[in-house]
C-alpha cells in the first residue's frame, strides 16, 4: 500500500469503519482483518483501535462486552442512530468530493 494511499485513507477511515459497522456489529480485530483482506494492508490494529475509542466517545456506536475464549472480553461495536446519521453525512461529503475530482480529471472545472 503506497504512501499516497495511506495519506488519502486517513481522512476517510472513520467513514469506512462506520460503513463496515452499518452492515453488522464487529470487534476491532475483525474490522482490521476485513480491511487487510480488501487490500488495505498497512492498516495498523492500533489505529483502528484508537478510531473505535474515538467513535465510542462521540456516541456514534454502541459497545457490548462479549466474553471470549482467549484473552479479555471483546468489545463488539454496533452503529447506533447517531452513527447512522453521521455515516449518511459522510457519504454525502464523499459523493461531493468524488464528483468534483472526476470533473477535475476530465478537465472541465
Amino acid at each position: 500500500m503506497g504512501k499516497q494511499m495511506t495519506e488519502m485513507l486517513k481522512g476517510t477511515l472513520e467513514g469506512v469503519v462506520l460503513a463496515i459497522l452499518s452492515a453488522r456489529p464487529a470487534y476491532g480485530y475483525e474490522i482490521t482483518a476485513w480491511l487487510r483482506d480488501q487490500g488495505f494492508s498497512d492498516i495498523a490494529e492500533g489505529t483502528i483501535y484508537a478510531l473505535l475509542v474515538r467513535v465510542e466517545q462521540r456516541g456514534l456506536v454502541d459497545v457490548e462486552k462479549v466474553p471470549s475464549e482467549k484473552g479479555p472480553p471483546r468489545k463488539v461495536y454496533s452503529l447506533n442512530a447517531q452513527g447512522r446519521e453521521y455515516l449518511e453525512e459522510f457519504w454525502r461529503t464523499w459523493s461531493f468530493l468524488a464528483e468534483r475530482l472526476e470533473q477535475l480529471r476530465k478537465g472541465g472545472n
Binding site: T6, A44, E45, G46, Y49, A50, V53, R54, K70, G71
Partner: protein
C-alpha cells in the same frame, strides 16, 4: 474505607487526597502496571517504550489518563490473545498510531490546548485581532 468510584467520598478521604492525589487513580494505575507485566516480553517492551513516549505529551494523571492506560492494556492483551504481531499493532509509523490514540484522552487535549495558545499568540503578535474561541481540536 470505600474507594468505589461511584460512592461519595468521606470528608477524611477528601482531605487525604489533597495531599496524596487520588487513591482510586493510584489503584487503577497499579492494576494497569500489573496487567502490562503479564504480557509477553516483546509486547511489554513495546508498551513501555510507548509509555516513555507519552511523557512528551505532558502530565498524565487523573481519571482520564487512567482510562487511557486501561484502554492500552485492553488493546495489548487482546492483540496477544489474537496473535497480532507487534508491527501490525503499531503499523509502519508507530508515531502516527500514538498520535491518533492520545487524541482521545485529556493528555492529548492538553497538548491541543497548548497548540491553540501558541496559534493565538502568533495571531496576536502578527496584529491579527481575532476573538478566538478556545477550541480543543
Amino acid at each position: 474505607m470505600a474507594t468505589g468510584s461511584g460512592e461519595p467520598k468521606s470528608r477524611y478521604l477528601q482531605y487525604l487526597e489533597i495531599i496524596t492525589g487520588s487513591l482510586e487513580d493510584k489503584r487503577r494505575y497499579r492494576q494497569y502496571k500489573a496487567r502490562i507485566k503479564q504480557l509477553p516480553e516483546n509486547y511489554r517492551t513495546a508498551v513501555e517504550a510507548l509509555e516513555r513516549y507519552l511523557m512528551h505529551f505532558g502530565p498524565a494523571d487523573g481519571a482520564g489518563a487512567m482510562a487511557m492506560y486501561e484502554d492500552l492494556a485492553d488493546l495489548f492483551e487482546q492483540s496477544v490473545a489474537d496473535g497480532t504481531p507487534i508491527r501490525d499493532i503499531f503499523g509502519e509509523d508507530p508515531v502516527e498510531f500514538v498520535e491518533a490514540f492520545v487524541a482521545n484522552y485529556p493528555i492529548g487535549q492538553y497538548r491541543a490546548r497548548e497548540r491553540n495558545r501558541f496559534t493565538s499568540a502568533v495571531e496576536r503578535a502578527a496584529g491579527e485581532d481575532t476573538a478566538r474561541k478556545d477550541r480543543t481540536d
